[in-house]
């Protein structure tokens, strides 16, 4: 058995036997409490003196921390995960409260960085996918706030924009590390899922840039960050991914996310469509390779929808449009027939258990 197969089995065992609905409802409750606390802080209620508010808040943080500690051994697991999630949100609300009471001036990037540092060890104690999603999106939000600060204060918007692509690459790399897969399988699975999703999203939106002329834009400042992304892509592809389809998909995401922005002369409608279809067919290929039947269906459906959308953007006059719609309709029906047939074939090949 390969380490990858072992990690998948471990991930399945640790996630699939949990009461998903209970976790979802408890997670939503925890999220509602965390957002509510932030909202209460934002209201800046004046009837309680500032220092009293901070004292109450610190008692809450300590009490909830005690609850996490108490639930660590005694459980139930869903209560521990919810308490960790609420504490994660409460720490952010507490930092905002200190900022309000002492009028620290709203330096959001510093507040977010403080939040990320203070809660880093806490979130490593969580074991559920829900807590993993909260943590990863929290860190990515911090990353984005810093990117905005770099764009404004360093006057380097291109560098900041290019840095966004590094975040999902780091997620993917961490998710593929066997050390994390062994200790926190839910976190590793979530990191990999979010990493891949965001990389494909970047590639998808990158392809749309073919419609725009970017030759007069100056992206020199972005080159260092593009170099970082390229090195990370090569390292992940060489050391952490196994199948050829995943490696090809990773490189395609890198190219589509950057090349159009750097060199597009604009009005490349067909290339934009072809890049979209090509990317999503690569997703289908990679999903087929990893036996993800539902993702194969989803990816091929996206590619098919994009083919249909081409009719509405390529043709101009009424006659052109009419002819195109008639021939395009026939082509669409042909594609649907082919897709349905291949989909059934894929599902047979991948087995009913995955479908």
């Amino acid at each position: 058995m390969t380490p990858e197969q072992a990690a998948r089995i471990r991930g399945f065992e640790t996630t699939e036997h949990r009461p998903t609905l209970l976790y979802a409802i408890a997670g939503l409750g925890g999220l509602a409490i965390a957002v509510g606390l932030v909202s209460i802080v934002a209201a800046n209620w004046d009837d309680i003196p500032g220092r009293m508010k901070i004292a109450i808040d610190l008692v809450l943080v300590a009490g909830l921390g005690g609850g996490v500690w108490w639930l660590e051994d005694r459980g139930p697991d869903w209560a521990r995960e919810t308490a960790i999630g609420v504490l994660f949100g409460l720490v952010l609300a507490s930092i905002a409260l200190v900022g309000q009471v002492y009028q620290l001036g709203g330096r959001a990037h510093e507040a977010m960085a403080t939040w990320t540092v203070l809660t880093a060890v806490l979130m490593t104690r969580a074991r559920s996918s829900f807590a993993a999603v909260m943590w990863i999106f929290g860190i990515q939000a911090t990353w984005i706030v810093w990117a905005v600060w770099i764009a404004d204060d360093w006057d380097a918007p291109q560098l900041a924009l290019a840095s966004i692509y590094v975040a999902p690459l780091v997620c993917l790399a961490l998710g593929r590390l066997t050390s994390i897969q062994r200790v926190r399988p839910a976190l590793a699975n979530t990191l990999e899922s979010i990493g891949w999703s965001e990389l494909v999203l970047c590639g998808t939106f990158g392809g749309f840039v073919f419609y725009t002329d970017t030759r007069n834009e100056h992206f020199d400042a972005a080159y260092p960050m593009i170099a970082v992304s390229t090195v990370l892509t090569i390292a992940i592809g060489a050391a952490l991914l196994r199948g050829v389809p995943q490696r090809v998909l990773l490189v395609a995401c890198l190219l589509l996310s950057h090349v159009p922005i750097l060199v597009s002369p604009g009005d490349l409608d067909l290339l934009a469509a072809a890049s979209f279809i090509g990317l999503w067919l690569l997703v289908a290929w990679a999903a087929y390779d990893t036996r993800e039947a539902r993702l194969v269906s989803l990816a091929t459906a996206f590619a098919g929808l994009r083919i249909v959308a081409i009719y509405f953007e390529v043709f101009g006059t009424l006659l052109d449009t009419g002819l195109a719609l008639v021939s395009g309709g026939g082509l669409t029906l042909g594609l649907v027939w082919l897709w349905a047939r291949k989909r059934k074939q894929f599902e047979r090949e991948l087995g009913a258990g995955d479908a």
């Binding site: 934002a42 209201a43 800046n44 209620w45 004046d46 901070i54 808040d57 610190l58 943080v61 300590a62 921390g65 005690g66 996490v68 500690w69 660590e72 051994d73 504490l87 720490v91 507490s94 930092i95 200190v98 900022g99 309000q100 009471v101 002492y102 009028q103 620290l104 001036g105 709203g106 403080t114 540092v117 203070l118 809660t119 060890v121 806490l122 490593t124 104690r125």
Partner: protein
């Protein structure tokens, strides 16, 4: 494993305590100066739950740091504002811009320009926001700062007609 859980829940508490302690120290220590302010956008003073403002410095004397040739003088990153008292109250001091090492030696007070760059925020309670917005249009507003020996500023209070805004409203 339990040890890591203890660390996990203690770190946020200690971090928040440190944040509070540092902020408390900054507002209680340092020299007090009061600088008049104006709304960053006079048509829209309050953005949600905070007042967006900028300092209205009483520029006087010659700048030796920043854009010294600029017609409209403004704080520049990396420089220090040299504060000279007018009277004894520390209210609305005369200001010029110098290199920080120079400002620390010769000025009554030295304020790092970085801490007053761009729009500033002052958080206000949502149920008092409308009253405060109206008052800001009609009265003289100022911010009382505590400035430490390194030139870092901590906001102490928003003043209306030289009184804390909660008393003035």
């Amino acid at each position: 494993m339990k040890r890591w859980t203890i660390i996990a829940v203690v770190v946020p508490v200690l971090g928040l305590l440190a944040l509070v302690g540092r902020s408390e120290y900054a507002t209680r220590h340092g020299l007090a100066w009061t600088i008049p302010i104006q709304g960053y956008d006079p048509r829209d003073l309050l953005h949600g739950h905070y007042l967006l403002y900028r300092y209205r410095f009483q520029w006087d004397g010659v700048d030796t740091c920043g854009d010294t040739g600029a017609i409209e003088r403004a704080p520049a990153a990396g420089c220090c504002l040299c504060l000279s008292s007018v009277g004894v109250s520390g209210y609305d001091p005369r200001v010029r811009q110098l290199h920080c090492d120079e400002a620390e030696k010769i000025c009554d007070g030295s304020l790092r320009a970085d801490s007053v760059l761009g729009p500033q925020q002052y958080f206000v309670p949502e149920d008092r926001a409308l009253d405060l917005e109206n008052a800001l249009r009609q009265r003289e507003a100022a911010i009382e700062l505590a400035i430490d020996p390194q030139g870092n500023a901590a906001v102490r209070e928003l003043l209306l007609d030289r009184r804390p805004w909660r008393e003035a409203l």
